[in-house]
């Protein structure tokens, strides 16, 4: 399964890096610095782990120019690159990528009438493909997948086991869908009339564009009318909810357990962190980034960073969060200030009647602070 080992200078060529150390060193694999053994190359892409350089058993490490002089064993060779995270990605591909080998259509799959089957497909046992569906070349449909009537799966797409693609849904090329994900379930729409919720038929569909990846147990609802759309190159993590008629632009990132309500439109390059919620019928501009657990309840113009529930500009949110734990103390200070001010007022204005007024004021305050 693993490709043969390579020399360090070959690895450096692969990732466009510069070697500091023995270029003819043999590299047999890649691992995180803490877990690497001799003969493997590690990587430093997150500054949190810079201290691991000193204690690693790796023979070499991929790192950025600014860490070239960081403390490390003298024997540790270095490959210096501008983007060590992308370099790591390339090296993992080198050691681990396997060529696609089509397994054909299992005799235990159920293929409906009029299905168009591409070349070199892999259709595993207990897959169901509905009538007139179109399956592209080199598509993998793993065990237990369901492809509805007239659905289309683009070339080189890969569906892991137990994925459900409902009728008429269209997936582009090189789409990856993880297990348990449901694409094209009915949108959540009811007309409340005469004391009952009447189901609004959800007769639209879903378009998943090229190079999208959907995590495990994601739900993407079909549109009421028209289309729910996930744009080219967008990546969606596990357990995300995408409601009917949502559109997501290209190259966006939707992290686990986020939810986007109906008819909301996200621009290109939007990032929703984990557990974010976005209300329905709003527009989120290109490049907007929303912090974890935030709730977006309004339109957001391009390029903004938001946090909080309801979400506000991230910087403002940081300031609020820095102050919030002090709120009980602020309340006490406010109370003390009121007491002192009133004492001062009594002292200045009516030196004679001060004692009587103070008693009354204290009583009032006690009542209002209980409310």
């Amino acid at each position: 399964m693993h490709k043969p080992q390579m020399l360090l200078h070959q690895l450096a060529d692969l990732i466009g890096g510069r070697v500091v150390g023995d270029p003819s060193m043999v590299i047999a694999g890649i691992a995180p610095l803490r877990e690497a053994s001799p003969g493997q190359i590690g990587f430093l892409s997150n500054p949190r782990y810079v201290a691991d350089l000193a204690s690693t058993h790796a023979s070499a490490v991929i790192l950025a120019p600014r860490y070239e002089a960081a403390t490390a064993p003298p024997s540790l060779a270095r490959v210096i690159v501008d983007d060590p995270y992308y370099a790591m990605c390339q090296v993992i591909r080198h050691f681990h990528d396997r060529p696609y080998l089509p397994s054909g259509v299992s005799p235990l799959a159920s293929v409906g009438q009029g299905v168009t089957m591409g070349r070199d497909v892999s259709v595993q046992p207990f897959v169901v493909i509905g009538e007139r569906a179109v399956i592209g070349d080199r598509v993998t449909l793993s065990a237990g997948c369901y492809i509805g009537e007239e659905a289309a799966i683009g070339d080189d797409s890969l569906l892991y086991p137990n994925v459900t693609v409902r009728e008429r849904v269209r997936l582009g090329r090189r789409v990856i869908v993880h297990s348990g994900t449901v694409i094209g379930s009915d949108g959540f729409g009811y007309a409340f009339h005469g004391g009952l919720h009447h189901k609004i038929p959800q007769v639209g569909t879903v378009i998943i564009e090229d190079d999208v990846e959907l995590g495990a147990n994601v739900t993407v609802d079909r549109a009421t009318l028209g289309q729910t759309v996930i744009g080219r190159g967008t990546k969606v993590d596990n357990l995300v909810q995408i409601a009917h008629n949502v559109t997501i632009g290209e190259r966006s990132i939707i992290v686990a357990q986020a939810g986007i309500s109906g008819s909301t439109a996200l621009g290109k390059g939007v990032v929703l962190a984990g557990q974010v919620g976005v209300v329905g019928h709003v527009t989120i501009g290109d490049g907007v980034r929303v912090g974890a657990q935030s709730g977006v309840a309004q339109n957001v113009s391009a390029g903004q960073d938001l946090s909080g529930s309801p979400a506000i500009p991230h910087r403002q949110w940081l300031a609020v969060q820095a102050t919030l734990p002090k709120l009980p103390e602020l309340r006490k200070r406010l109370h003390r200030l009121e007491e002192e001010l009133h004492a001062l007022q009594r002292q200045i204005k009516r030196p004679g009647r001060a004692a009587e007024t103070a008693r009354r004021r204290r009583a009032t305050r006690r009542r209002s602070s209980r409310a």
Copy 2:
């Protein structure tokens, strides 16, 4: 698949509306105003989209009396109804509803001993039905569904692919369950004893009453003892968690990614917005509405609107949220006030020693504000 076109006055009769424009106009379909083409009817149910009237290519529009005079092309016919959302629902049904056609029991399904099978069912490939289960008339069990032993599925219910219904669970009539949903998984219950979590057997069951709809990848746990109950006509969106021994009253709405903890009871007509959490062992009264991402930690009496985590009355929450972004500014104002008040106190009480005291106080304040 689509029913034949109809004349505008026929459509108006269907939805109980009044025509303004050419009643003999031919209508071939329905679409949102922005997407509609000539020959189609649009609709205006959400005021956000009123501006779409002016630019639509639709031939006619369904709208409420208050928008009768809104700006629109003179050629745009209008059908005036009191409830345009419900009217839209009826028109979509007209154009898109298909009659139910039973497909019978697939020879690729696995049906256990003693199963009672209703008339005109559709049981697709790779369905498993456990022993002694009862399947009603005109039930659809789509590919990959699992129906456990002694479970019961009521007449006209529709289960989409890859739904799991565990043993002894009972679904009423006209229940719709979307793909990936699990009904009757074990409740999350352990007795912590002797340093270990001992699993409490979950030997109760789940009752889903008539006309309930469950979204995709929902989880409904079976009761420890007794029953978890979802009341008649209640609608549950995708990725919702309903824990053991929960009861939900009739006609409630549970939006995506909400979670209800064990033994909590919701009344009738309750609305939980997206990502809401409700703790265990509380009672939520009839008609309570809870805003998105809120957390309910106490009993709530009927008719209340709540928001926030922990949830407070919605109006109060609005006031808090309006003030919250100003918190850092309030803190500064409080600080300034303290300075000014103390300056005043010094001026009044000890005019002689004022300068010295002020210096000391400023130093103290600087230290404490850094803490």
Copy 3:
């Protein structure tokens, strides 16, 4: 299915309790106090339900010493135990546990080449087991489960229908996995380079240790390199997200809809309540408890109780939450105080120019309070 009835003194022996009442009373089952009928034993483990003692139809009740004298019908026998919740667990086991009966390997399952199959297994229809997988003794793989190539399932483990276990994932002994759960899906990792998100191959795996239970529709991602680990005896509720390279210590409790981001390490005995989120690359110490809907964004040392988003110590959070609803009122009080103080300043400092200054100050305040 139910074991025969037992006498009350036998039941007391089983749970190590002391009988107050007729020890030869026949007990035929267990139920909550509100639902119990004559001949059944109820239990009181949650103080919320103490009032149910007075109205129960149960013949006996299990309770703690401190409720021995609580109001109840004179005929109600009592079994006094220190831990009534654990006692309830034991009694439910007595009445409801069924012996494991292996069903063998269904001829409708698909078993790959080189699979090692244990003794007395139950492999239901439409299960797929990939090549070289190892299935332990007395393992149950329910309908529609997928076990990937070279995966391993330990002795006595039980997978409910429609579970997906990807290639090379290893489950320990006595592991329970509920329906719809996905173990070993790809971690969410991309290197953003040249304007595109490049998928980082996720070539690690997942280790689920002995006695772990995973709820329904849970997702556990495989590591990028190395392993995602869920420690022995840990219990995970429905719809939880566990990202790549996460490690969770022994005997932790992760409640429904919580999410743990990549490379985060949880200690032993950690409790994450429902809908909690934890960011990536942090360390949560042993015994940490995090309140519902909280967001943890930093390392947390052992034994802490946290709440809030971002999370702060629970006690501090309680104080903040108690004050928060008063925030609008505090703002008004602050404003009033400013007015009064400035009036006082004018009165003292510059009796002559007071009126003019006051006007200016009021104008300034009005502008700033609008901002």
